[in-house]
Amino acid sequence: MSRRGKFVAGGLVIVAAIAYLIWSGVSQSVVYFVTPSELLAAPVPSKTYRLGGLVQPGSLKWQPKSLDLSFTLSDGKASVPVKHKGTPPDLFTEGRGAVVEGSWTKEGYFKASLILAKHSEEYKAPHDGAQPGYKELLKSLRGDGTR
């Protein structure tokens, strides 16, 4: 084989190896977005999904001692019970949109390993005066005497 041919062949081998890595990487780590309706229509246990919906008001339960967080995600048509271990991220509460990543369990709930809460740039939350509990929070903590 000519010198040039050797180079090209060597280069092609490397490119092929990387292409193979990319292909298997994509098949392994691509995560599908689903809504609650889509998930419940055909849930596949142990497959990783990203589930997006609204956190149903009244469904959020947080156990500080055991770090168990549970809530329901809904898209207006269907709802999915979700369980997560650990504190939720800061932008996460009832009545707001959220996307969770995890998998469906055979026991009938979605086990979330990751919670991503949506944050809108242009939207503004109510002002300090009416922020529920914020001022009371400060008062109660100051009264604590630790500072």
Binding site: V15, L138, T146
Partner: protein, 648 residues
């Protein structure tokens, strides 16, 4: 007043930039010097006007002028003084102003440096740079004007995004933009060289320092971004393969490839087409990165979205890529290689492999970033591609690059004999293997760490060997070890600056490998007075306190950390409540160490202070990333020193 003045200045600057670009181009074609002088004056004028825009905006920020929409959105009466200044580049419109300003300064430097030294290339360089500046000014005029008026004038502004109220966010955009805009200069020279037909090594030699400086600032910007992510976002990581991160990483990868492959062209007059393509690609990727982060086409944790700005950037990107590649294609006959590859085992070949891997990594990152778009376009299915994909492909590629980093500087040009290979590499290879075996012997089982360690020792070994031999040779002229080393570093500053940069990369590599392999974390709810143990650290929850800052309220937890060896310390992770956001933002507290960092994030807490949920991390080797950055800085500084005097 200010919105109108600022807008007027922007439009005037745009007109000047356009005029200057046209004047310079026409003067290049026709040789009329008066037009060129006019173009230069236009460049100066544009810089003056953009500086005036910045001054006006800063004045508006400092005087709480909420009639300026940008000021009203990004600050409020409680925003601290220094953040009111840095809010200038904190959001979309302001970031374009910063970009334009840097570009105008670089253009002036080009004017001063090259108007006499490069009479043939200079007019085209000026035309291209002013043309690019005109585009950014156009963006400042139409889709993203920073000087819009807000009526009626609100009593108070909204406030700076709390995540941006941090020292990392002050410096990160500046460093990154110095990098991005810096590549405009080599690109402009490449275009000029193609147009004029001087496609030899000239344009490379002239712009060598620009390339190193831009490359360095981009690397610095990436590292500062990692630092910001690490100490602000509360997840304990420094890189998430987020589309916005990837957007800045891609041009850095191709710039690294470019930095190396130009050395081949300088020595062997080969790879001309390749080098021109690389600089076009690098510049294109800087525009692509800006497009990605501002158009909203890929969802990301930190993209800003705006209406039509994406279309402007895509249009400009199309113009740049199609225009420059077409120009390149039309000049292909001028780009014949004058040398050829003699052997697979040679420096040329090693550098080529280096380029191949870097471009493959770039492609991988690009593919993974746009795959969601591709999937939706092709199959209508919405997907996301996470970190596992990028790590799976890129880790082997980066390890291969580490290996090449050791081989490249020492292997012979043209054809390396078996003998020279043995002489240069046997000892370092053995050292690497021994280091890995030693690590294994003390119980390190992680494959990634072992491989990285072996490669790092190998590369360090080659650098040490080369330095030792060179200093020893120099000593024959009678210098002591110290003088010889110092003299060598200064005399061959390009080479040894590069070696020090490589050392910096080695330090970063060790940091990445160690932190991925050895960091541990736990999350627990502690009652007051109770503690938890992780990796030898005892963390006890002492209580909560509340305080009010100028623009937020804060709940702080006090946690005493004890470690048998290091004594005890108190950390204060907090939750900050900003009035403009319904939910609080976590303020991480940490103690940094050479080998490990202790990192605490306050989660949920009881309002009576009886218990608190805390995430505790012991992150290993993360400080090595920042240290590596320091070493990189030293190396880059050495590399760009002006050539040593002729005397020994």
């Amino acid at each position: 007043m200010i919105p109108e003045l600022g807008y007027g200045a922007t439009v005037a600057a745009l007109v000047l930039a356009l005029w200057g670009a046209i004047a310079a181009a026409v003067s290049a074609r026709t040789g009329r010097a008066a037009l060129l002088r006019s173009g230069e004056r236009a460049a100066v004028g544009a810089w003056v006007l953009i500086t005036a825009c910045i001054a006006l905006m800063l004045y508006a920020f400092l005087t709480f002028d909420f009639s300026v929409r940008y000021v009203a959105i990004n600050t409020n009466r409680g925003t601290p003084f220094y953040y009111r200044i840095t809010a200038l580049w904190g959001a979309l419109e302001g970031s374009i102003v910063l970009w334009s300003w840097m570009l105008s300064i670089y253009t002036l430097i080009v004017v001063v440096q090259y108007r006499r030294r490069q009479p043939e290339l200079y007019p085209w360089v000026l035309a291209v740079m002013l043309g690019i500046l005109a585009f950014f000014l156009l963006v400042m005029t139409i889709p993203a004007p920073p000087f819009e008026r807000l009526t009626p004038i609100p009593a108070d502004g909204r406030g700076l995004n709390p995540l941006l109220q941090d020292s990392g966010m002050i410096t990160h955009p500046v460093a990154l933009y110095l990098g991005f805009t810096g590549f405009t200069v080599p690109f402009a020279f490449a275009m000029a060289a193609l147009i004029v037909g001087r496609t030899g090594e000239e344009w490379i030699t002239i712009t060598r320092r620009w390339t190193i400086i831009a490359w360095y600032f981009l690397a610095l910007g990436l590292l500062i971004g990692g630092w910001w992510s690490y100490h602000v976002l509360g997840w304990g990581g420094y890189w998430a393969w987020d589309p916005v991160e990837n957007a800045a990483f891609m041009p850095w990868l191709t710039a690294t490839a470019f930095l190396h492959s130009v050395m081949i062209q300088e020595r062997r007059r080969m790879l001309k087409l390749w080098n021109l393509s690389l600089i076009i690609l690098t510049f294109g990727l800087t525009i692509f990165g800006t497009f990605l982060t501002r158009s909203g086409i890929i969802g990301s944790v930190h993209s800003f979205t705006q209406g039509s700005i994406g279309i402007f950037f895509l249009g400009f990107l199309a113009l740049v890529l199609l225009g420059s590649f077409s120009l390149l294609a039309s000049r292909v006959e001028h780009l014949r290689a004058e040398g050829a590859l003699d052997s697979v085992v040679s420096r040329e070949s090693t550098f080529l492999l280096n380029n191949l891997f870097l471009v493959a990594a770039t492609f991988t990152v690009f593919f993974g970033t746009v795959f969601p778009l591709l999937s939706e376009a092709a199959r209508g299915v919405k997907v996301s591609v996470g970190a596992p994909f990028f790590n799976l492909v890129n880790i082997p590629v980066f390890l291969a690059l580490l290996f090449l980093m050791g081989v490249g500087p020492l292997i012979a040009w043209r054809r390396a004999s078996a003998e020279s290979l043995k002489r240069n590499f046997l000892k370092p290879v053995l050292a690497g293997l021994v280091a890995a075996a030693a690590l294994r012997a003390v119980g390190v089982g992680n494959g990634l760490v072992l491989a990285t360690m072996a490669l790092v020792v190998f590369v360090a070994g080659t650098i040490a060997l080369d330095l030792f031999r060179a200093v020893r040779a120099r000593r024959r002229t009678g210098d002591g070890w110290g003088d010889a080393t110092w003299g060598l570093l200064l005399r061959q500053n390009r080479r040894y600056g590069g070696f020090i940069v490589h050392l910096g990369i080695l330090v970063v590599a060790l940091g990445v490998a160690g932190s991925q392999a050895w960091s541990v974390q736990t999350e627990v709810t502690l009652d007051k007075g109770k503690s938890v143990e992780l990796a030898g650290y005892h963390v006890r929850f002492d209580g909560l306190s509340a305080s009010e800052e100028s623009n937020h309220a804060k709940v702080t937890g006090a946690f005493t950390i004890t470690n048998g060896r290091a004594g005890s310390d108190v950390l204060y992770p907090a939750k900050k409540f900003y009035p403009q956001d319904q939910n609080p933002i976590a303020a991480v507290d940490y103690r940094l160490g050479f080998f490990e960092d202790v990192y605490l994030v306050l989660g949920d807490f009881a309002t009576d202070g009886s218990h608190a949920t805390v995430k505790l991390q012991v992150n290993r080797m993360v400080s090595w990333l920042w240290l590596g950055g320091l070493v990189l800085t030293l190396g880059a500084a050495l590399a760009i020193l002006p050539e040593a005097r002729r005397t020994a």
